[in-house]
Each structure stands twice: as structure tokens, then as C-alpha cells.
Amino acid sequence: MYDKTVRRRRAVLVLLVVLSLLLLTAYFGEAPGGRLHAVQRGFLTVVSPIQDGANKALKPVRDLFGGIGDTFHAKSQRNQLLKQVGKLRRELVADQSEKRTYRQLLGIYHLDQLGINSYHPVTATVVAKSPNIWYSTVTIDKGEGAGLHVNDPVINGEGLVGKVTQVASDGAQVDLITDSRMGVSARIGTGNATGIIQPKVGDPNDLLLQYLPANTPAVAGEYVVTSGTVSSPDDSLYPPGIPIGQVTSVNEESAYRSVNVRPMANLHNLDVVQVLTTSSGTRATKLAGLAATLPPGHGAASSGASGEQLASTGAGG
């Protein structure tokens, strides 16, 4: 009797471990359109409305605990922001004249129709978040039904949030910019040199802008924005000029320069995001690509304008 129990216990363990390994191998080896991915999408379709309902019902609880945590950070943030306001006021005055020139150039290049609105932003609510250090993902309550596609960029009022990686009919999975699988073409505000911004796994408050030419000027405090280019055909085409973060330190390396960047968007407390749904090949993305080829000075101006347009859409709620 005892032997039978032991044998059965061990058999169950072996069976479950083998099953897990088979799932892992099959999932890892198959294409995103494969069967296991389809099962996951189907599951997402089923649970999205439940998650949405639970999210709404439990929002007061989340807000209560979130509010307590936010109070602790408020004082240090206030001092930091006061310093920033002073610096930004000075910059604003200097940028006023450049802005006028930029508007004229936009008209010449027919780029004045380019704004976040031309990407048909869809506002979505975050209904679930991964607790894992290795998977920095959220689930949103909008999917194919709202016009979302895989690789659509996701933003909020503060800046770039991530991109859509899986779409179901009523929900979608978004990989945040701090997810280990992410890589975004970016540049430092006023420069023309582009690099790839990647997360540093284990540190959600630090991104690394890599592969910048060694002579790229970079100063702590400068803004890093999307470059509007892609490094491979499968990449997401983020519109140029979406703020990603601020340079915190510069690393000197032999062939390339890399900089550490603190993300602008508060990815811990995501509530509402906007998905830019325009797929590649449309007018907006063509214009965005054209904007990315502008000379350095114009690019800088472009980033400022996009940030402005981003703010004017009221994203982030």
C-alpha cells in the first residue's frame, strides 16, 4: 500500500515536470501564429472581460494602497519637480524662436499634418500586470475589435510605454519598455545619432541607450526620444519624438557610447494608455519616416512638437 502511494506520487511529479518541459519547448520553438500562442490568445479573449470587471470592482482597493505609497514619494518628487520647473522655464524661453522656424519648415515639408491624432490613438485601460521581474507586461481592455494590431506603439501622457505583442478580440498584451524582450530605436533630444534603447533586467528604473557613435554628445538631464526608425522589418515603428526618458549618466566605451536613461512614464502605476493604431504603409507612418530623415536641428524641433501634440491629446488620464 505504501509502495503504491510512493509510486503514484513520484509518477505524478514526473508527469507534471515532463508536461511543463514539453509545453516550454513547444512554445519556445513555435512561431507567434502557432497553436499554443493561439490557445493563449483564446484564453485572453475569455478572461479579458472578467479581468476588466474585476479591475473596476477592485480599483478602490488598489487606489487606497497606491495612495499610501504615493504619499511617501510625494515630498521628494516635489523638490525634484521644483528644480525641473526652473530649468524648463529657461529652456522654454530659448525654444520660442526655434519653434517659429520649425513651424515654417513643417509646412514646407508637408509634415504639419503629422501628430499623434493621425495615428488614430485608441484609449485603453490597464486591467492586469505581471508581477515577474523578467516579464514587464500589462493587459489592456481593447483588442482587435478596436483596431489594435501586433507591434502598435503604446504611449501615455508622460511618454512611451511599450508596444502591443498579442491581440485578442477584446484585449491585448503590451510589453513595457522595461521588458527584457524590448528594443526601441531612439536618439538624444538634439542629436542626430540613433541607438537602441534596451531595459536593464532587474532594474525597472534604468534603461540603456546603446550603440551610439563614440563622439555623440550626451549630458545628464537631456531627453531621449524615439527616432522614428526601425532596426529590423519586424520592429514597431514608433512615431518620432515620443519622449522615452532622461539621461542619468554617460558610459565611455571604446567603439560606442552608451547612456543610462530613467524612463519618463511611471510604469508602476499605469491606469490608462493610448495605442497608436495606424499600421505601416499608411500616410502617417510614411510622414513619420520622412520626419526622421530631417537634419539634426529639425529633428530636435520635431521631438518638441510631438511631445506637445502628445500632451494635447490628453493621453494618460
Binding site: 506520487r9 515536470v17 484564453f43 474585476a54 505609497g69 500586470k129 521581474i133 533586467v201 534604468d206
Partner: protein, 192 residues
């Protein structure tokens, strides 16, 4: 109740608790960082189910919770199932072999489960290949994750035990121990 002492009521309670815990985790707990760390209740739940119900239910619950997490969060299927199966099995074996009764046992089991989960994820991700640079902060996150999990372990243990209490299988070792003290059969006073 079946021959193995596993009742339908127990399975139902474990299943309901697992589903509620996973949805509560991804919908609420994940969005409330504690000391900058997101607490993961799922490995603690699996460990406590194993500690109360034994290795077999622990392993099955671990596999099911892991699969649910991977499906709901669109993560690589099998990774969480594998780690949670091992956590559930070994916490169940701890009960079957040692049956620890100390008040701090759930805290240590919870901390160990969190450590196994965090280190296990990292090892598997390294084996699958990581494109992004890895920060040394990862070690700090793992240590802080274990500490924070230990803090929530005791209240969660109380909740899990309360929910499963009426449906737990009778443990022969505990039955013997209880009989010894209630009937006085093995009490040193009875020999006098």
C-alpha cells in the same frame, strides 16, 4: 472522501482559491509595489497548499496555478508551471517527512518558495537566452522580493489554512500525536 483522503470539497476549495489568487495578483497586488517590489502571492499560495494538503495536491496545484499565470499573462508556457510544480511538491514533502509545527514555519516556507520562484525564473530565462543587458540590481530585487514575501507569508498562511481547514485529509502522524496527549497513552505522567 476517496481512499487517499482527498475530498471533492478540498479540490474545489483549492481550485477556487487558486483562481481568485491569480486574478487578485495580476489585477491588484501587481499594481501596488511595496518598497519598489511587486509581491508575488502565487508561489506562496502553492507552497502553503502543499504544506497543508501534501505533495501530490501541492504539485498538481502548482502546475495548474503556473499554467493559469502563464496563460493569463501571455508568458512563455511551461516556465511558471515547472517552477510551481516543484515548489508545491517539495513543501508537501516537508509536511509528509517532518511535519513542522513551529509558528515560524509558514514564514520560512514562504520565503523559500519566493526565493525558488525568483531564482528559478532567472535561471530559466538565462537558459532560454536574454537579449537585454542584466543589471546587478536583479540580485537586490531577488533579496528584497524574498523579504517582502516573508512579510506577507504569515497573513496569507492564516487565510489559506482557514479556507482549507474543514476539508483537509486526516494526517495519521497528527492523529497519533493528538491521541497520545488526549488519552494519556504516551504521556510520561501516565507511567507514574
Amino acid at each position: 472522501m476517496s481512499g487517499s483522503g482527498i475530498s471533492a470539497s478540498l479540490l474545489l476549495r483549492v481550485a477556487a482559491m487558486s483562481v481568485i489568487c491569480v486574478f487578485l495578483q495580476i489585477g491588484v497586488v501587481s499594481e501596488v509595489p511595496v518598497f519598489g517590489i511587486t509581491v508575488d502571492l502565487s508561489p506562496l499560495l502553492v507552497a502553503f497548499v502543499g504544506l497543508l494538503c501534501g505533495s501530490m495536491i501541492g504539485a498538481v496545484a502548482g502546475f495548474a496555478v503556473g499554467l493559469l499565470v502563464d496563460l493569463a499573462l501571455v508568458q512563455t508556457l511551461g516556465v511558471t508551471s515547472l517552477i510551481f510544480t516543484l515548489i508545491g511538491y517539495w513543501s508537501g514533502r516537508l509536511r509528509e517527512l517532518r511535519d513542522p509545527q513551529a509558528a515560524l514555519t509558514p514564514l520560512l516556507v514562504g520565503a523559500s518558495a519566493a526565493a525558488v520562484a525568483l531564482v528559478g525564473y532567472s535561471l530559466i530565462e538565462f537558459m532560454l537566452g536574454v537579449d537585454a543587458p542584466v543589471s546587478l540590481e536583479l540580485l537586490r530585487q531577488i533579496v528584497l522580493g524574498v523579504v517582502v514575501s516573508s512579510i506577507v507569508a504569515l497573513p496569507l498562511w492564516a487565510i489559506v489554512r482557514r479556507i482549507l481547514e474543514g476539508a483537509l485529509p486526516e494526517d495519521p502522524r497528527r492523529r497519533r500525536r493528538r491521541r497520545a496527549y488526549t488519552t494519556g497513552g504516551l504521556s510520561p505522567l501516565s507511567r507514574a
